[in-house]
């Protein structure tokens, strides 16, 4: 095994030989290596989040015609580190009447639920965590743990606004889980496995070409699961006081934001793995380390797209958001699943080009169907114009008499 072509297994192999050479039993060596790997990935992801926050603020600034952070270090690159140092030394305010266990457990659980997804991601052909055969179900289940953290935070705060915010957040998150889970059946169907390694290996041609509509539905749902604009009703600061995290302070508050930024990047990784072919790319067989690079590039592109959507679109109203989910995305996801299954089954798999062509045509038709559904929804619920009258200009002659006298 060559170091240049595939560094991580080389290092693991070398460490295993070294530890075995010291006379340790093989089980202990494996456990130790797992421990080191888990600590490295978790710490790496947490520290990487500081860079993500900086990148997001900088890119967001550029999108909105601002400069973004530009004082601490070159291009403001140390801004997040300064923020981190500051938030570490902030006081924890524990309001009266909180339920201590849920209140303190919630920020930990919020971060852990996102970090745990990294355990099953295949970073390249030879570098992956747990290659379990139910990885997709694991990701969905762990996603549910994040909702648990939110409801714990809202309940533990003993605050009406926090509880209301938590209810809204959970209503949004569980609703958008439905089309996401339905659409995830399609990659499982194509690859015949729920393991992420098998799903990536089945994608010599990425699944985005086979199932673009499913891909778009999954993308929308994963943005909504992150709770980012245009679906940022979880922290709709102009409507709720602040949402479920209102009573939190110091690093406990910060943990929710670490979870938020990390979740955005993690869902970009999951999207890349499931629909864009993960580490697949030219020359991966000879040089597995290239796979990691492909994975990173694809993930960054998806992440940038998410940022572009976040900083461009305004927020939905909550009834519009729920209608989008239950009246458009869920029926569309069901139809997409059935039609894809039927068409894919009726064409033999040897005729790859015919199969792709048929699926693309079907997806174009599905796209038109989605367009019809949205148009019909817009007809049923027309946009209400709240103001129609032109307001008078503020000219001196229409000012009230009192003000005129005061001016004289």
């Amino acid at each position: 095994m060559n170091f240049i072509y595939d560094p991580v297994p080389w290092v693991i192999n070398w460490l295993t030989q070294l530890l075995l050479g010291w006379g340790l039993p093989i089980n202990l060596v494996n456990t130790l290596l797992y421990l080191v790997g888990a600590v490295l990935i978790c710490l790496g992801a947490m520290l990487f989040t500081t860079m993500l926050i900086w990148a997001e603020r900088k890119i967001g600034g550029r999108f909105q015609d601002r400069l973004g952070p530009n004082r601490v270090g070159p291009w403001g690159i140390f801004q997040s580190i300064a923020d981190m140092l500051k938030i570490f030394t902030k006081e924890y305010i524990n309001p009266v009447g909180i339920d201590k266990i849920p209140f303190n457990l919630a920020p930990i659980l919020a971060v852990a639920a996102v970090l745990a997804i990294w355990a099953v991601i295949p970073f390249s052909e030879t570098v992956f965590g747990a290659n379990i055969n139910v990885a997709l179900l694991f990701i969905i289940a762990i996603g549910g743990l994040g909702e648990m953290a939110i409801i714990l935070a809202g309940f533990g705060s003993n605050n009406k606004y926090a509880l209301l915010g938590a209810f809204r957040a959970v209503a949004q998150l569980i609703s958008y889980e439905v089309p996401m889970v339905i659409v995830l059946l399609i990659p499982v169907m194509f690859s015949g496995s729920m393991g992420l390694n098998e799903i990536v290996q089945a994608q010599k041609i990425p699944f985005i070409i086979y199932a673009p509509v499913a891909c778009v539905i999954f993308f929308i749902c994963s943005i909504a699961e992150n709770g980012r604009a245009p679906f940022d009703l979880i922290e709709a600061d102009s409507e709720l006081v602040a949402g479920y995290n209102i009573e939190y302070s110091g690093l406990k508050f910060g943990m929710f934001f670490v979870a938020d930024f990390l979740h955005a990047f993690t869902s970009a990784i999951v999207f890349t793995t499931i629909f864009l072919g993960g580490w697949q790319g030219p020359g991966v067989e000879q040089m597995p380390v290239l796979g990691g690079a492909y994975m990173l590039i694809k993930t960054l592109v998806v992440y940038f797209l998410m940022l572009a959507i976040r900083f461009t679109l305004p927020r939905f109203r909550i009834d519009q958001m729920m209608a989008l989910n239950w009246k458009i995305l869920t029926p569309l996801a069901l139809v997409t699943l059935l039609v894809t299954a039927l068409v894919d089954k009726s064409i033999p798999h040897e005729m790859t080009l015919v199969r792709i062509g048929a699926l693309v045509i079907v997806n174009v038709l599905l796209w038109l169907l989605a367009d019809r559904m949205i148009t019909a929804y817009r007809k049923r619920n027309p946009i209400q114009v709240v103001t129609g009258k032109a307001r008078p200009l503020a000219r001196p002659e229409i000012l009230p008499v009192v003000e005129k006298e005061a001016a004289q």
């Binding site: 978790c42 569980i174 439905v178 169907m189």
Partner: protein, 118 residues
């Protein structure tokens, strides 16, 4: 296979331990100067009235129920999706029937107006 689950167990423990450790360290570093006003429940600066166990719209619970129905039925579809390449066309038709029942449930909820956010 067992090793994979061992790794997963270790990973979950570490994933819980690292944020917990960070919170603990921050708790050691941070000042502790509580006072009654600072520690009062924050509701836009008003004095809090009553308990936080107030009634909420029934809508939240209805969404919860609909989600439960859909998620459980979708989980039943996963074994079919794994075996998709092995089943004949008949298997797909059966699933269409299954999803039709699922969709009729959605239609019922829709018609009853439970999906309206009021």
């Amino acid at each position: 296979m067992l090793n994979e689950w061992l790794y997963l167990g270790i990973f979950l423990t570490i994933a819980l331990a690292i944020p917990a450790a960070a919170l603990f360290i921050a708790g050691l570093l941070s000042p502790k100067k509580p006072n009654p006003i600072k520690d009062s429940t924050y509701e836009c600066g008003m004095e809090t009235v009553g308990v936080s166990w107030v009634q909420f719209k029934v809508q939240y619970y209805i969404y919860g129920l609909v989600f439960l129905v859909f998620d459980v039925e979708t989980v039943l579809l996963y074994p079919w999706a794994v075996a998709y390449n092995k089943v004949a066309l008949y298997g797909v038709l059966e699933v269409i029937l299954f999803v039709a029942i699922l969709a009729s449930g959605l239609l019922y909820v829709w018609r009853k107006g439970a999906l309206e956010w009021v």
